[in-house]
Structures are given as structure tokens and as C-alpha cells.
């Protein structure tokens, strides 16, 4: 099952900070709910995992993430992730992320994401109908985490950040923003996704956007 996503997320973060976070793959990965990079295999290759919880069932995808392309001048990053779960599912994703400055407001930017996600096995068979909605939800959570983490970075262009959510209590982030430790979802929670889907469906019914 293949899902293609093409999304634009306006962020209240400047392009430089967003790009700085994006190039730190470890930090970016940990903005994805349930995901983490466990090992760096080479300059462009990482090992990691994603944990998805749907009710009582937990699926653990393990695999690799490769940086196919990183063009600083365009603030463009191309990633390829591949993984499998022991329960008989596999997934791969080609992601192109570009950070564009917001022409109206130099303090803001737009995160452009194009992804082609292919899921095989049980996840595709059981979750096929929910794939687009769940992917949307995941991305929305990711972007929110990404935004919050980027905001914790020093405004000055420069050093990559160490990590995302867990690091918020740590030194580097604490130095910049001592007060706001963002609440970041650590796991993809099926119930939470379901609740959010239900909410957006109901608000769709009554004609207002969630």
C-alpha cells in the first residue's frame, strides 16, 4: 500500500533554525512520535526504530535511514527510510523536505514535505483504510514537535542541536529557553489518533474546521 503525501506547514520559526534542526537527523527523528535513532552507521546512514502503539498492540519497526541528498543552499533534504516489524509488516519511506523562508515574515518559514510511504504486510492489510488519515495525524504531531524543538534552538545560525524532546530538560536547550519545556508525544498512541480522527470527523460534520 502506497500513500503519497505533499504537505506545507507554516512554522513560526525562522528558516535558519529550522534547517539547523533538520540537518541533525538524530534530533529530527526524535520529533517523530515513537521514533529514535539508535546508531550512526556512517556520515549519511543511521539505524533506528519506530514504535507504534494501537490499543494493546505494540509494533516495533526497526530499520535504517539514509540521507540521499542534503543541499544547504536550497535547505533541501532527501531521506530514505526502510524497516520491518517482527509481526509481519514492512515499510519504506522516501521523504523530501524543503524549508522555505516565509516571504511575508522573515522570522517564519514553511516546511514543505513530500513523502511516498509504502507499507506491506499486516499493517497494510489491517490499516489500509486508515493510512492516509493516520499519516496526516503523525505528520501533524511531528511538525508540532519539530516546531517546538526548533523554537528552543538559539536564534543565531549555527550549531546543530543534540536532541529533541528528552534534551529539552538538558543543558543545550535549557540555555536558550529556560522556561518552556515543550510537551512532546513520545509514542504513537492509537487511542489518541483515533480520538483526534473522531474529533476532526465530527467537526467536519458540523461544518467547522478543527
Amino acid at each position: 500500500m502506497e500513500v503519497k503525501l505533499d504537505k506545507q506547514y507554516p512554522l513560526d520559526v525562522d528558516a535558519a533554525r529550522a534547517w539547523a534542526l533538520l540537518t541533525d537527523l538524530k534530533a529530527t527523528a526524535s520529533c517523530m512520535p515513537g521514533a529514535e535513532i539508535t546508531e550512526q552507521l556512517s556520515d549519511t546512514s543511521y539505524k533506528g526504530g519506530v514504535k507504534v502503539k494501537v490499543g494493546p498492540a505494540v509494533a516495533q519497526f526497526g530499520g535504517t535511514v539514509d540521507v540521499i541528498e542534503a543541499v544547504a543552499s536550497e535547505r533541501k533534504m532527501v531521506l530514505r527510510g526502510k524497516g520491518a516489524d517482527k509481526g509481519g509488516s514492512s515499510a519504506s519511506m522516501d521523504l523530501t523536505a524543503i524549508i522555505m523562508p516565509d516571504p511575508a515574515n522573515p522570522a517564519h518559514c514553511v516546511l514543505n514535505g513530500q513523502a511516498a510511504v509504502i507499507v506491506n504486510g499486516k499493517f497494510a492489510q489491517f490499516g489500509g483504510r486508515m493510512m492516509v488519515q493516520v499519516s496526516d495525524m503523525l505528520l501533524a504531531q511531528f511538525v508540532e514537535n519539530f516546531r517546538q524543538t526548533a523554537l528552543t534552538l538559539p536564534a543565531a545560525e549555527g550549531s546543530p542541536v543534540a536532541a529533541c524532546a528528552d534534551a529539552t530538560a538538558g543543558e543545550s536547550a535549557a540555555a536558550a529557553t529556560a522556561t518552556a519545556a515543550p510537551v512532546v508525544a513520545r509514542e504513537i498512541n492509537g487511542l489518541a489518533i483515533f480520538w483526534a480522527l473522531l474529533k476532526s470527523w465530527f467537526s467536519g460534520l458540523v461544518g467547522k474546521k478543527a
Binding site: M1, K86, G88, N120, G121, K122, A124, G128
Partner: protein
């Protein structure tokens, strides 16, 4: 002692023989939950097997790591293709002359293909251990569309066949090509089209569906390392064939292999083939010296065991301007999945598809079927039909409708015009089948009158004239002929064994009897109906006749139950065995009554001396004599065995009519009326026939109105649970009306033709005929199945008929 029953009529009723609506003998145990299915079998020391399956549809196996699984407490073994290689059991022959991987050897060819097996103390440990087996795949491009599979640059599905240009059914001209099979006379058909006043053509897709029996497939294999014999309880429609195959594969002499099909919870063709799970359980039992049980779950059943249909068909008819059909041409591209594992008689890779000329006298016809490999599960079984008869009947019935539409003729009228006439039987079709008997016109007239066809057409015209009508009304009509009862050994065999069937009857000294058969009931009610045949033939009450099937150690060799062959073949074997006994009984009776054999008359349950009703011997008395004091020169005992090789197939037929009302706003379809008239020749148990027809119509309804096996572009099967796969229940199933005519088969000892598959074969095109009929005034000539609400709603919108 009971008072003797006096009149012949009363005695005949007491026998509950042929023609009686005797209650099913099987039901007493089933309705009490006392059936004995494979999964009910428990053996001392029994282990459990589960299967590691491929999540992807096409790929190479890079690495299999079984250490973690083996380390789990309670796990006895994890086996892969590499473990089966030394035994040469990692591949096995299929019924269609191909080979299939038992466990994936270096690559996987379809999603859910068997990759490894785990043997553990219980089912739960086995399932957990399956998740602990790590398999690394390198994905390969997937090809799911059979037309795309035949393109020059298409991915190679079967690496193992590289360079093999000769298949089991002739030349292979592409790496994904299995066979091309032709029937009929191409030049005669082409000539008919050249001269035709009118021609029509239609493309149609008969979707991939699954028989989905309530009981999934499974087995308990038990190898005795001391005696060296193997007993396997198995969900098989053909236990004797399984025994032969198991012996051939394992090298264990057939005399030491015992295959038992206990109660079977529905087969419908799904339980004809030999699946990797069976082979693995048997191997595991031999390796471990302990019984091993394997029972698949529903998802495994729908995903990996045999599917049916998946025919992409192009039909063409040539006709005169007044609607007489002069020629038929058919081209089929058949999606067989990754291995050619169709269950067909050896010489017929497209089964009996050449029944495609139907009930019509078509002078020139040609059909060509091309089998193709794709990255889908193998199969292509006869789902409640006699080997691709369903596809053939669908095609011809659709084409006749399309022709009628083109000519502006009524669909009943065009059928009547083209019927093989009553006086033409036995009739040889353009494809060479010799139709045994039929009277189509009488049956059609009966149906049209019963439903007030003219009134229905008038109602439809009125609805069409009303732009505000909330519904579209459609009338479907099908007048089909089936070919069943495979089959004459000169034409039909499976793995070289002729498709005869067998019966052994023993009359006990006190006049009760046991019959053992080469067939196996899966819901058909053999224990009831077979006893009725013997009751009538031998004058023994059916109540005291035991029918045993399914145990190869006791039953005579037979080819099993599928393709509506039980009554046409095994039913005939019963009659013939009974008649052997009858002949011997007559000799004994003559001896007892001290008359010449020719001076005896047979009446219901006794031999009478001609002209003297007081002098008689009942069959029970004769049986006692046979064991007690047989006449000099005659062997004691009263038993016989008969192997029946049918001289021909049988050709049951039916006339089905369906009325649908389609909601123009939602696409929901209501089956307002379904009238099914069947002619299966002599009727053995009318109640069971009605039950068979209800079941077949319901399965036909499921196929036509909802069943589908959708695949996404990566080869994920998106409909392999009962949440998705449509199995109609009491809620969805419409009301069925049944009727019959009786045209006995002249070559069958009882005149019986077989019935269980007719309602499935006949009803499916009837539903499509009704759906298309509802749209026909909008110029629609065909709608592909399934006719579910969403697809119908889309059709309504596409043709401007939606409200």
C-alpha cells in the same frame, strides 16, 4: 416382533429410499456440537505448528535467523527450505503439472507465502515464536496484472523455470506464460464471423474470489517411528489422492500411509489441493516422531490457500439479423498466481471451460485460454463448480444478453430461439461434449409463467417512463447447462489416476448394511442420500444402512468429492454394487423358495414367486441365509464392490430468474425475487436438493454482490478477513424460490445428474444479468462484479441515473 408391514406402498415408504425427503443423518451430531473436525482431534504428545509468512509479494530471501525462536522455551524446531532440501521436499508437484514451493526457496513469490515453520508445545508458543523468526528480504518489482506480466520486460516471477520453454500443457512463449489452451475449431468460427450479419463483443472480468469454507484447512500428522507408518487426519475433499501423493513424496509405501478426512466443514474446492502446511506438518512429525497439528487461521485461509476464478474474458458472438447464433469466439487471460496449482483433470488446464457454448446450438465455436503467472497466491480451484464451468456459463449467458440488446430482442426469446432442442439430444456441441439429455424450453416456459414475466416487463417499462422513480428495476434471466460428474477415465485423470469412483457394500447377517465410499461428504449429506439409494436398490431401510467415507484404510479407492461428481459417479457405483448384491440375493432367494430365478419378481424389499404373493423372501431373510446356509456352489456372505468409470459426463441445467430494485440514491440493491428451476435428473432426496440449492444460491449471491480480493500495487491483499470479505448471513440473504423439472440422464444407472453446483454456477450470471438489465435502457451492456452498493452507485452516476 413388530407386525409385518403389509402393502408394497407402505413398505416402500418405510424404507425411506430414493425420492424421500429423509432428514439428514449427519445433523444430529452437528446441531449438538458433536461433530469431529480436524481441530477436534487431540493425540498424546501432540505438538503444534505455525507458519512464518512473507509480508511482501515478491522478493529474495537474504537471511533467515531462527536462533531467537529456537531459544524460546517450548519451541521444538524451526524449519526452512534449507532444512527440507536434503529430503527434496522444499518443492512439490502441483495437480496442474507445475511445481510449488513448500517453503520459500531463496525467494518469495506472493504475500503470505510460507517461509518457515515453527513447531512448539502449544499453539500460543508457536505463534509467538513465529514473530521471533527474523527474515530479511530484498524486495523485487511486483507484477499483479496478467496482461502486464506478459509484457517483454515484465519481472521474472519464476526464476526456477528459467530457460524452460516447454510446460505441462505445451509451449511457453514468455517467462510468465504457463500455457495456451485451445478448444473448438478456430477456422470454422472465423468463417462464421466473416459471414455474420451481426456480431457483438464484450470484455468482462470474473474477479478473484475465495471459497472461504467455514472450517479452514488443517491436519494432524502422526508418524509412528516404531512401525514406520503415517496417519494423517486432514481437511481433504480427496483423501485417497492425498494418500497417493504423500506416498510418492515421502517414499513411505502407500500401504503404510493412512489418510483420514473426518467431518469437513465445507470444501467448495478449497480442500482439493495439497498445501505446504500439510506437507510441513507431515515432515515435522516424521522428523520429531510426534504428532503435529496445523490448523490455519482465517487470514491464512483467504490469503494463501486456493482462490477461484480470476479470468479476464473477451467474448464474441456472430448471429443472423433475426438472432440465430452462428458463431462463438472466446479469449481468456487467466491469472493463476505464482504457481500453477489449479485443480483440474490433467488434460484440461482450463477445466471444462469448453462448456462455454452453453444451452445453445452454436455450429461453430472456438475458445482460447492463456494461463499467466503473477505475484499472487496460487489456486484456481473449482469453487462450487465443475472446473471453470462457472466462468464459462457466465461468459455465454452475458454474451447472449449482449446480443439480445444489440438486436432489440427479449432475452427469453433469443434464448428459446437458440436452445438445443429436446429432440436433438444426445447433442454434440461444437467443442465436442455430448450432452446427455435436456428439455430447456419446457423449463423456461414454466419459469416465465411462474413469475409472470410479461407483467414484470410491463412494470419495468412503467418505472422507466417515470423520471421520479426511486429505483431502477432489472430482470435477470439465465438458462444454463453445466457439465459435471468428471469423468470418463479416457478423458479425465488426476496425476494419472482415472476419475472413477467406488463403493463397497456389505449386508450383515441380520439385514442391516454398511457402505464404504471413495468420496467424502463436506456438507452434502452423503450419509443420508447414499443410504437412500441402497434402500431402494436392495429393500433395506435406509435407517439401518451406515455410510462410511474418508478413511483410506477402510474405504475403496476413489477420487473424492468436488465438481458435483458424488452422485453422477459414486452414486452410480452404489447402484452398480447394489445390483451385484441383488443378483446374488436373487440366486439365494430362488434356492430358498425352490424355484427358478426367472420365476421371481422383485417388490420393494422382497423376492416373490410370480403369481403367488404368499411365497416370498425378504432381503433380510436372504441375508441371513447367505451367512447361515448359502446354496451349494455359492460363496457365503453378501457383499460387493464396484468401481464405476462413467461413460460420459452428466449435463444438469437450470432456468434462473431474478428481479432487482436498485436504489437510485444509494446504489443499494434489493433482490426482490429469485426463482431457481433446476433439472438434475432423478431426484434422490428433494429436501437435501433444496438445501443444496439454497446454499449454492447464497454463495452465488455472495460472489456476484460483494466478494472480492483487492490487491494494492505492492501486492498486499486488502480483503483477507471476514470484516472485509463478504460472507452473507441470514441478514443479507434474500428469499429463494425453487422449482424443478426432471429429465433423467440416459447413461446414469439412476438417471441422476448432480445438483450442488448448479445454483452457484447459474445464479452468478443471473445477478449480473439483472443488474445490467436495470441499466440497459441507458446503453449499458455489461457491469463487472461485485455489484456492491459503492460500485453500483458509481455506475448510477456515470450513466446519469443517480438521484
Amino acid at each position: 416382533m413388530n407386525a409385518p408391514v403389509q402393502t408394497a406402498e407402505a413398505r416402500e415408504i418405510a424404507l425411506a429410499g430414493m425420492g424421500a425427503s429423509r432428514l439428514r443423518k449427519e445433523d444430529a451430531r452437528f446441531i449438538q456440537g458433536k461433530g469431529n473436525y480436524v481441530d477436534d482431534i487431540k493425540m498424546p504428545g501432540m505438538l503444534h505448528m505455525d507458519i512464518v509468512r512473507s509480508p511482501i509479494a515478491h522478493g529474495r530471501i537474504v537471511k533467515i535467523n531462527k536462533e531467537a525462536a529456537l531459544a524460546m522455551p517450548g519451541v521444538h524446531a524451526v524449519l526452512t527450505a534449507d532444512d527440507l532440501k536434503p529430503l527434496k521436499l522444499h518443492w512439490m508437484p502441483t495437480l496442474a503439472g507445475d511445481v510449488a514451493a513448500v517453503l520459500a526457496d531463496e525467494k518469495v513469490h506472493f504475500q503470505m507465502q510460507e517461509v518457515a515453520i515453527v513447531i512448539a508445545d502449544d499453539r500460543y508458543i508457536a505463534a509467538d515464536a513465529v514473530e521471533a523468526v527474523e527474515v530479511e528480504y530484498e524486495e523485487l518489482p511486483v507484477v499483479l496484472d496478467p496482461y502486464a506480466a506478459l509484457q517483454p520486460g515484465a519481472p521474472v516471477i519464476r526464476d526456477d523455470l528459467a530457460g524452460k520453454t516447454e510446460g505441462a500443457h505445451g509451449k511457453r512463449d514468455h517467462h510468465n506464460h504457463i500455457f495456451t489452451w485451445d478448444a473448438g475449431d478456430k477456422s470454422a468460427a472465423d468463417a462464421a464471423f466473416d459471414k455474420a450479419e451481426v456480431t457483438v463483443s464484450q470484455h468482462m472480468y470474473y474477479p478473484r474470489v475465495h471459497p472461504c469454507p467455514l472450517e479452514t484447512c488443517g491436519c494432524v500428522a502422526s508418524f509412528d517411528p516404531i512401525k514406520g507408518d503415517l496417519t494423517t487426519f486432514i481437511t481433504s475433499q480427496a483423501p485417497h489422492v492425498v494418500r497417493t501423493v504423500v506416498s510418492m513424496l515421502s517414499g513411505i509405501p502407500e500401504s503404510k500411509v493412512r489418510i483420514v478426512s473426518p467431518d469437513i466443514g465445507g470444501g467448495f474446492g478449497n480442500k482439493v489441493g495439497i498445501y505446504p502446511g500439510y506437507v510441513c506438518a507431515i515432515v515435522a512429525s516424521i522428523v520429531l516422531g510426534r504428532p503435529v497439528k496445523w490448523v490455519e487461521d482465517r487470514i491464512e485461509n483467504i490469503s494463501s490457500t486456493a482462490f477461484a476464478r480470476d479470468y479476464h474474458m473477451d467474448g464474441e458472438l456472430a448471429a443472423t439479423a433475426d438472432g440465430k447464433i452462428t458463431g462463438l469466439r472466446v479469449n481468456v487471460v487467466a491469472d493463476h498466481g505464482a504457481f500453477d496449482a489449479c485443480a483440474d483433470p490433467t488434460k484440461f488446464p482450463a477445466g471444462m471451460f469448453h462448456i462455454v457454448s452453453g444451452s445453445y446450438d452454436i455450429p461453430a465455436a472456438h475458445a482460447s485460454v492463456k494461463g499467466v503467472y503473477t505475484n499472487k497466491a496460487p489456486g484456481g480451484v473449482a469453487y462450487r463448480c465443475s472446473f471453470r464451468v462457472t466462468e464459462a456459463v457466465y461468459l455465454i449467458e452475458r454474451m447472449v444478453d449482449v446480443l439480445a440488446q444489440k438486436l432489440g430482442m427479449d432475452k427469453a426469446e433469443i434464448r428459446a430461439k437458440n436452445f438445443v432442442k429436446k429432440e436433438q439430444f444426445p447433442y454434440t456441441s461444437a467443442f465436442g461434449f455430448e450432452y446427455d439429455s435436456g428439455d430447456y424450453q419446457t423449463a423456461l416456459d414454466k419459469v416465465l409463467e411462474a413469475v409472470d414475466y410479461k407483467g414484470l416487463r410491463a412494470e419495468q417499462a412503467a418505472k422507466r417512463a417515470d423520471p421520479n422513480s426511486p429505483t431502477l428495476m432489472g430482470i435477470g434471466l439465465v438458462t444454463f447447462t453445466e457439465v459435471v460428474g468428471a469423468g470418463p477415465s479416457k478423458m479425465c485423470d488426476i496425476l494419472g489416476v482415472g476419475m472413477f469412483d467406488s463403493c463397497e457394500i456389505r449386508i450383515h447377517p441380520t439385514g442391516s448394511a454398511i457402505a464404504r465410499m471413495g468420496t467424502i461428504t463436506q456438507g452434502q449429506g452423503h450419509q443420508t442420500t447414499y443410504a437412500q439409494i441402497i434402500a431402494t436398490e436392495l429393500g433395506i431401510p435406509s435407517e439401518v444402512i451406515q455410510v462410511e467415507e474418508g478413511d483410506t484404510s477402510t474405504a475403496p479407492y476413489g477420487l473424492g468429492t468436488y465438481g458435483s461428481r458424488s452422485t453422477p459417479v459414486a452414486g452410480a457405483a452404489i447402484a452398480m454394487a447394489a445390483r451385484k448384491i441383488h443378483a446374488k440375493a436373487r440366486k439365494i432367494a430362488a434356492h430358498m423358495l425352490e424355484v427358478n430365478e426367472n420365476d421371481l419378481d422383485w417388490e420393494v424389499d422382497r423376492f416373490k414367486v410370480k403369481g403367488d404373493d404368499s411365497k416370498f423372501k425378504t432381503m433380510a431373510e436372504v441375508a441371513w441365509q447367505a451367512y447361515h446356509q448359502p446354496p451349494a456352489g455359492l460363496e457365503p456372505g453378501l457383499e460387493a464392490v464396484h468401481y464405476y468409470d462413467p461413460p460420459n459426463f452428466t449435463f444438469p441445467f437450470g432456468i434462473y430468474l431474478c428481479v432487482v430494485d436498485i436504489d437510485r440514491a444509494t446504489g443499494e440493491t434489493k433482490i426482490r425475487r429469485f426463482y431457481a428451476l433446476d433439472d438434475c435428473g432423478t431426484r434422490i432426496n428433494p429436501m437435501i436438493i433444496d438445501g443444496q440449492i439454497h446454499g449454492g444460491l447464497t454463495e452465488g449471491f455472495a460472489v456476484a454482490m460483494g466478494q472480492q480480493m483487492p490487491f494494492d500495487a505492492q501486492g498486499n491483499l486488502l480483503g483477507n478477513t471476514l470484516m472485509d470479505y463478504f460472507l452473507p448471513t441470514f441478514v443479507e440473504t434474500p428469499h429463494w424460490e425453487t422449482d424443478h423439472t426432471v429429465t433423467p440422464s440416459p447413461h446414469h444407472p439412476l438417471g441422476a445428474k448432480g445438483v450442488a453446483e448448479s445454483p452457484h454456477v447459474g445464479s452468478i450470471p443471473t445477478f449480473t444479468s439483472a443488474m445490467v438489465d436495470a441499466f440497459s435502457h441507458l446503453g449499458v451492456t455489461h457491469l463487472d462484479m461485485p455489484h456492491n452498493a459503492f460500485r453500483t452507485w458509481k455506475a448510477l452516476r456515470e450513466h446519469g441515473a443517480a438521484l
